[in-house]
């Protein structure tokens, strides 16, 4: 078995989720690493888009910010936030990556506050482009740590809509039809969402972990796919690209 860390594993799993010839809205950090890895392997024509305006760049080194000059280096277009967000609203963006401090069974996300809004125990950054991506892109992929304080029955604050209260709720709220959370990738496993109930459902467990580990670290009842698989660990080529080509300084993958 290869030696790898959890960030590397998550990058590989996230990367494999992306299809060639689709557009993905990425934030800095793990999402850009995953998207770049996909481009170098199975998805050479993945279109990477940054919310600040960069469209289809040839990324020379990992950007530190979603808007820095690497995000539109030899891009097909250096546009504006309005342009990118409008394209997403128009249905042209297939995937988006999101992170969160809390998630609930319907994939709703909190990145705003822990505790009451007016006097928070922990003040987090807020929506940023998260609400926009989670509202407008077709499939959102959530990358986050899994434990009982983060995987909760009820959020302290619903920053970004997942499936809200269940089937049809997004559409009733006026959100675009057919959109919503697609995958939740953590240090323990990969979750999807049940088509009928829109509740979170375990798809695969990372090597070395058990169903018990997942349950212990989830603060709500998780649906379990009949045949839960074991996540394929990082392949040698994936690790080589991550460590030697994509993030040699260890800015993201450590």
């Amino acid at each position: 078995m290869m030696d790898y860390n959890v960030t590397e594993l998550m990058a590989c799993v996230a990367s494999r989720t992306l299809e060639d010839g689709k557009a993905v809205l990425v934030g800095t950090g793990l999402p850009i690493v995953a998207a770049t890895l996909a481009q170098k392997l199975h998805a050479p024509n993945l279109l990477i888009i940054f919310e600040a305006g960069g469209i289809g760049p040839r990324i020379p080194t990992i950007p530190i910010s979603v808007g820095d000059s690497r995000t539109f280096h030899r891009a097909v277009m250096a546009a504006s936030m309005d342009y990118v967000m409008s394209c997403a609203q128009l249905g042209l963006v297939d995937y988006a990556f999101l992170g969160a401090a809390q998630i609930d069974p319907y994939g709703n996300l909190n990145t705003t506050v822990i505790g009451p809004h007016d006097r928070p125990r922990v003040r987090l950054p807020g929506s940023g482009g998260g609400n926009d991506a989670g509202s407008l892109c077709w499939k959102t992929i959530i990358l986050m740590s899994q434990d009982r304080r983060r995987f909760v029955e009820k959020l302290d604050f619903l920053t970004t809509p997942g499936y809200l209260t269940g089937p049809g709720a997004r559409e009733r709220a006026g959100l675009p039809e057919g959109t919503g959370p697609y995958r939740v990738i953590t240090q323990l496993g990969v979750m999807g969402f049940d088509e009928a109930s829109k509740r979170m459902k375990l798809l695969s467990i990372h090597p070395g972990f058990t169903l018990e580990d997942i349950r212990e670290n989830t603060g709500f009842e998780l649906l379990i796919r009949e045949e839960v698989s074991v996540t394929e660990p990082p392949r040698e080529e994936e690790l080589r690209l991550l460590r030697e080509v994509i993030d040699p300084a260890g800015i993201v993958i450590g």
Binding site: T28, G29, E51, A52, G53, G54, P60, T61, I64, S65, V66, G67, D68, S69, T71, F72, A78, A79, S80, M81, D82, M85, Q89, T112, H117, R119, P120, R121, V122, R123, L124, P125, G126, S127, G128, G129, G130, N131, D132, S135, L136, F157, L158, T159, T160, P161, L164, A169, R170, R172, A173, G174, L175, P176, A249, G250, I251, V252, I253, G254
Partner: protein, 338 residues
Amino acid sequence: MRVLEEGRGELLGWLDPDEARRWMAEKKRRLPEDKRMSLKEAVERFTQDGDYFALGGFGHIRVSMAAIYEMIRQGRRNLAMAAKTAVHDVDILIAAGVVDRVECAYSFGHELRGLSPAGRRAAEEGGVRVVAELSNAGFQWRFKAAAMGLPFLPTRVMLGSDTLHYSSARVVEDPFSGKPICLLPACYPDFAFIHVHRCDRYGNAQIDGITVEDSDLARAAKRLIITTERVVEEDRIREAPDRTIIPFYLVDAVCEVPYGSHPGNMPGLYYSDEEHMAEWLSLSRTEEGVKMYLDRYVYSVRDFSEYLELVGGEAKMDHLRRLELLEEPLKAPWARRG
């Protein structure tokens, strides 16, 4: 127009479109005038305690940091900030006691570098109040509504979320589709600073690379101060008018401030100064550290050029230029490997 839902956030910066028109007609002069002045003078004349303001650029990119240091130096108080993707800017302004309210799309974080100790401490201890929540696109389109002279723009973001409940947006039924739609109220900040690559003495300004939301913000701001890497001759602008992002008649002041985005990135010219950023992130863990940083880099210098000397002068700027041009590899002190 029946309102299905109304956010409880404070409605900052909104003007009735007729009030906005009167402001623009009276205060924005269509006469080209030489607007060059020192940043000190521009901050004195165009910013007031209690104002609601916004900054051009995005995160650590093309933000007028020089203006921020100058506002701190002049002791502005009780400002409310349109914290769109606010990072080092809002953090230092909160730490220095300049900003006490934010309308928040993104604050209290430093993107890849982690959370912002100073801003977050203030938010949790009540030193700064988040008076409204919003999303990044929400801010973009609040500015665009203003730029277009409209009371609002519709959008399909925010719906169904607490972000909406704590915003100043409203939900109505779209009369064409019958579906609920979110209306974002126009946002006219009292003032804005936008840092650009070049402009002429009248304020005709050009930006290289992504423009983020600055085309709209420039029209939305009631008072607009351009800080620029270089003031160029008017003819240089007129040679490529399709590169102009901001026309002179929106501009109240032009301040030439080379490296004015330091410690942030200025696309094509210099990359962000991660050493300096790391110093702030480390010092700002304590109030004493904040004081030390402000004393060293803000209060003890007269202007931005003295600050530039302190942070490393020409040698540092050359290094940041080489980083930007990919002639040197980035070493981030806060990164896990080297």
